[in-house]
């Protein structure tokens, strides 16, 4: 059995530190999700409006955020805005800003898709039955759109968690950074630590995302 370098994690508080690093990434995702869901719901409703100027503006926001890699967005906010506007942003705050903007765009598009998936005859039938616009929205459109929306937005959470691994690149001390520190500190005593520690990081990310993906898949099947 080759030395897998796993014993490093049992030393001192190493495992707890690694989990602390995961929590930093999860906290950024959770804050961004908490911002994105209400903002995305609003954006999605606005995106279904027919006004050409509003359409163009929301579309521009969505496409501009989507076409660039999230890492480029992080660089733009972390290095770019601090240079241009002269303010001081921590890596963590920059990440929260970028992931909230990105999450809002993605969530907005999911909401728009879900609303537009409700067929026109549903609106027409509701009108023919004498429901007001408000009643139609509350009792006809929302229940149907929600079934489509909920699994997709749960999936967005796993995408958010996976993407927060990027914050390492703008100097936030998250799980990968902690892993590097542990490996560096134990270079002499366990030279193979890189294998065990990075494998553990890999498994921990999987354990954080997989249950959420399973839930999304299950709901999709149930309501599909």
């Amino acid at each position: 059995m080759p030395d897998l370098g796993l014993e490093v994690l049992l030393k001192g508080k190493n495992m707890a530190r690694l989990l602390g690093g995961l929590w930093v990434a999860l906290r950024i995702s959770l804050i961004a999700v908490a911002v994105s869901i209400p903002a995305g719901l609003l954006l999605g409703v606005v995106m279904t409006w027919k006004h050409p100027l509003i359409r163009a503006l929301t579309r521009l926001y969505l496409e501009a955020i989507r076409i660039l890699p999230q890492l480029v967005l992080l660089f733009l906010v972390f290095f770019g805005t601090t240079r241009v506007f002269g303010w001081d942003l921590s890596g963590e705050l920059s990440s929260v800003i970028v992931f909230s903007l990105w999450g809002t765009a993605e969530m907005g598009d999911l909401v728009r898709g879900a609303l537009e998936s409700v067929p026109a005859h549903q609106y027409e039938s509701a009108k023919a039955l004498g429901l007001t616009e408000r009643q139609t929205f509350l009792y006809v459109v929302i229940p149907q759109a929600a079934r489509r929306l909920i699994p997709l937005s749960i999936n967005l959470i796993t995408r958010m968690i996976k993407t927060t691994s990027l914050v390492l690149m703008i100097g936030v001390v998250e799980m990968l950074k902690v892993a590097q520190q542990i490996i560096e500190a134990n270079r002499m005593s366990s030279p193979n630590a890189a294998f065990g520690v990075y494998l553990t990081v890999f498994v921990l990310y999987f354990l954080a995302c997989w249950p959420i993906s399973l839930l999304a898949g299950h709901l999709e099947k149930k309501w599909g």
Binding site: P2, L4, G5, I67, L68, P69, Q70, L71, V72, F75, L76, F79, G80, R83, V84, T158, K162, T163, S165, L166, L168, M169, L176, A179, I183, P191, N192, A193, A194, F195, G196, V197, Y198, L199, V201, F202, Y205, F206, C209, W210, S213
Partner: protein, 219 residues
């Protein structure tokens, strides 16, 4: 923004864009091959292999590329598997993308009603003919939007290659910011070059989607 600085940096960015594009293309093509194999194994219910394919799809889709690359580049050499950064980048992208491609293709194949294959076989087509002329054309049509989205997603994911010391666009930008403090110019060129890569791919993708939107048109 300083024009002379832009001119000075342009060749550096051109070179790194070329690296991004080259490794990205190789990774995406490999991902497509892995995706086709996994989707086929799962669709035709090949014993044992389908379980492995299903597990692989879950693992690759539920872990970030950056973490996969760290394991490949810094972890595996400890067990004697030493790889060059470019090979690592391509392998990581293919590992990640394979899972996404497999899911896109499988949902396309499953959208084709079983009666289509049954009818084709009962009309006397051989299984290979039925797959070639009945199953695949419809499955590809349904899968295309997801496949196009995956290609763009994977090209964007190449932005983490700099973590395994590949001199891609992000690496060059970060290097120039750190060395010369030319933040505005570097970020401007970074965005321009990513747009130069991603906008044509995105436009081509939409075109392809429109051309291939024929499944279910007769129903």
């Amino acid at each position: 923004m300083d024009q002379s600085v832009l001119r000075e940096y342009l060749p550096l960015f051109r070179e790194s864009a070329w690296l991004t594009l080259r490794l990205g293309t190789m990774g995406i093509l490999l991902a497509l091959v892995i995706g086709i194999l996994c989707a086929a194994v799962r669709y035709f219910r090949v014993p044992v292999l389908r379980g492995i394919a299903a597990a692989y799809v879950e693992v690759s889709r539920n872990t970030p590329l950056l973490v996969q690359l760290f394991f490949l580049y810094y972890g595996l050499p400890k067990l004697g598997v030493r790889t060059d950064p470019a090979v690592c980048g391509v392998a990581g992208l293919a590992f990640l993308g394979g899972g996404y491609m497999a899911e896109a293709l499988r949902s396309g194949m499953e959208a084709v009603e079983p009666i289509q294959m049954e009818s084709a076989l009962s009309l006397g087509l051989t299984p290979v003919q039925a797959i070639r002329y009945v199953l695949l054309p419809q499955a590809v049509s349904v899968s295309t939007p997801a496949l196009v989205a995956n290609v763009i997603f994977l090209l964007k994911e190449t932005s983490v290659f700099s973590a395994v010391s590949l001199m891609d666009l992000m690496f060059t930008a970060k290097d120039l910011i750190g060395l010369y403090y030319a933040t505005t110019e570097s970020l401007f060129l970074l965005v321009v070059f990513y747009l130069l890569i991603l906008l044509p791919v995105s436009a081509l993708g939409s075109l392809l989607e429109r051309r291939l939107r024929y499944a279910g048109s007769g129903t």
